[in-house]
């Protein structure tokens, strides 16, 4: 029963991926565009208002600064979580080994 479910899900995903490939080969119209509204504002005014050469850095730190603050919070939380679980692993090993030696 589990094997049949896994086989059907796998075949369905492969069919979806093949369909995406065929669709994108024949209708790849993404590369030709004239003017997008948000990108043209960043390209025109980004280096004038901040006088920095890199447009991607001005987007990341100036126009979308709160997203970068949230991303740094996620990185900080992940590092703290890894340290919390790792410290528990060290202490558990030592307690287990002393218990086996005494018994």
């Amino acid at each position: 029963m589990n094997e049949k479910i896994k086989l059907s899900v796998g075949l369905g995903c492969i069919v979806i991926v093949l369909g995406f490939m065929v669709f994108s080969i024949f209708n790849a119209d993404f590369a030709r565009w004239e003017n997008k509204s948000i990108a043209s504002f960043f390209i025109d005014q980004g280096w004038r208002q901040l006088s920095a050469s890199n447009t991607v850095t001005t987007i990341v730190w100036e126009y979308r600064g709160y997203d970068t603050l949230g991303e740094e919070t996620v990185l900080f939380t992940a590092a703290m979580g890894v340290f919390a679980i790792g410290a528990g692993l060290f202490l558990a090993e030592k307690i287990q080994s002393t218990r086996e030696v005494k018994a």
Binding site: G10, F20, M21, A28, A39, F42, I43
Partner: protein, 117 residues
């Protein structure tokens, strides 16, 4: 031509889904998750491409024609945040796999299914 980028994206997505569903070891599933995320990031950045363009950095040579011949810089900034979040998820998943191995003695999903109690 831009068709090679979408072909590579489809191959990467297929390999990622295959590794997540058909492999039994837990570490190999995390590797498949990383491959799937990389394929998705490449697709998201290949959308903003323009035919015959330059990178979005202003230099003294191209300050006149910069608004006409530049690539879309917005998806690059969003993918930068997504890469960092994917790395944090992978780090937490790996330390949890180490904890599972110390607690149950095995790291295969086929044997973890049959545990009771």
């Amino acid at each position: 031509m831009i068709y090679e980028a979408y072909l590579a994206v489809a191959v990467l997505l297929g390999i990622g889904i295959f590794c997540i569903t058909y492999k039994s070891n837990l570490v190999k599933k995390i590797i498949g998750l990383g491959i799937f995320s990389n394929g998705l990031h490449i697709f998201f950045m290949a959308i903003g491409y323009r035919d015959g363009s330059i990178n979005p950095i202003v230099t003294p040579a191209n300050i006149q024609s910069f608004p006409l011949y530049s690539v879309d810089p917005v998806p690059q900034a969003l993918v930068l945040t997504s890469i960092v979040i994917d790395m944090s998820v992978t780090a937490l998943a790996l330390i949890i796999i180490i904890w599972v191995y110390r607690r149950f003695g095995t790291a295969e999903s086929k044997e973890l299914e049959n545990l009771r109690g």
